[in-house]
Assembly symmetry: C2
Homo-oligomer: 205 residues x 2
């Protein structure tokens, strides 16, 4: 059987795939390492509903499966292997975003896995996580905490520690400072309660 294209042909003639979304939600627990939100050994996902945007399907799946609200997920890539899903012909659009750990709802069935030591997830979800991590790392090279994981105001040390967690490797302290300070807004306030000289508190520029 052959399906032919024509502008005036009705769409009903074409068999259609189911369209799903899967989302890698990254976070950095305080003092911890970069981790991804997992629900029963895979990324939270769902099928899109009629009239729905992909991003709305992502938000719905995160709300229902992990109690996460208020993200702005970005598309990563489309998985289109017709044999990928045993249930049938499914096309899956991978998404990614990051969220502060304090906004994760602890009374839920999801859990965090560090991305550096990730076992095999169901489907091709490891690849999604890798892409999400690569995007987040690229963003964090260019700007201070672009995903707004830190609560304002913050010290340069807190920012440095966060960026090292995202990068997965040490970042030179003075180079980091010189690169970031011009993109930050100093508050004039100083940190309190810590050992050593109190640090300037900053907000994102």
């Amino acid at each position: 059987m052959v399906y032919r294209d024509s502008f005036h042909k009705t769409l009903e003639d074409y068999p259609r795939p189911s369209v799903a979304v899967d989302t890698a939600v990254l976070t950095v627990p305080p003092g911890g390492e970069l981790a991804v939100v997992i629900v029963s050994n895979r990324l939270p996902g769902t099928f899109i509903h009629p009239g729905e945007r992909l991003s709305d399907a992502v938000l719905r799946s995160l709300r229902e499966k992990a109690g996460i609200e208020g993200l702005r997920p970005r598309q990563l890539l489309v998985f289109d292997d017709p044999d990928r899903d045993p249930r049938g012909w499914v096309i899956s659009v991978a998404h990614a975003d990051a969220i502060p750990t304090r906004r994760l709802n602890p009374n839920r069935s999801h859990y965090l896995l560090p991305v550096a030591r990730l076992d095999k997830l169901d489907y091709a979800h490891n690849e999604i996580v890798e892409l999400a991590v690569a995007e987040l790392r690229a963003d964090y090279v260019a700007a201070p905490d672009p995903a707004q994981l830190l609560e304002e105001p913050f010290t340069l040390r807190e920012l440095h520690t966060l960026h090292e967690a995202v990068a997965g490797e040490p970042l030179q302290r003075d180079t980091f400072r010189r690169a970031m300070v011009p993109m930050l807004a100093a508050t004039g306030e100083r940190s309190t309660g810590s050992m050593g000289k109190p640090a300037e508190l900053y907000r994102r520029g």
Copy 2:
């Protein structure tokens, strides 16, 4: 009506969108500027067929609508506005690739439009072209002619002219040379027939 997810639920219960592909094919005519292949005021596209990969649908649409063969299109992004297409619920996956102008079939209904002066295309196709151009430009900063638009062997002048056409702006000659030579393989041969000192001929490293 509400559609609920369940691993064991059959996929037949879900209304499904049609899934299309649209492709921005970029090229640089000899001595010309960066241009995109257009078919009747839009990018070539089609609906995917059952069992087909997105990239195969792209290749099929390019073959049937523009006589183009042998590309390896890359995904750019998914257009998912439910009201985008007047024919119904259509999700479109934008793709991009580049092709040497000499491989374009002139006996076809497609035509080239320079990307610098692009009128409004149908659908949201201008955005696809912009993304495709941005990706191509990023690739051409990092490597000599990664899309293999030039026939080998080529001189540094030819490479330089091509990279300027892709970038859409002048590129410093000596800096360009120093950046590219380590990534090229000198043939030991020299160009002939031109004014001035004959140039070394190179192949891609």
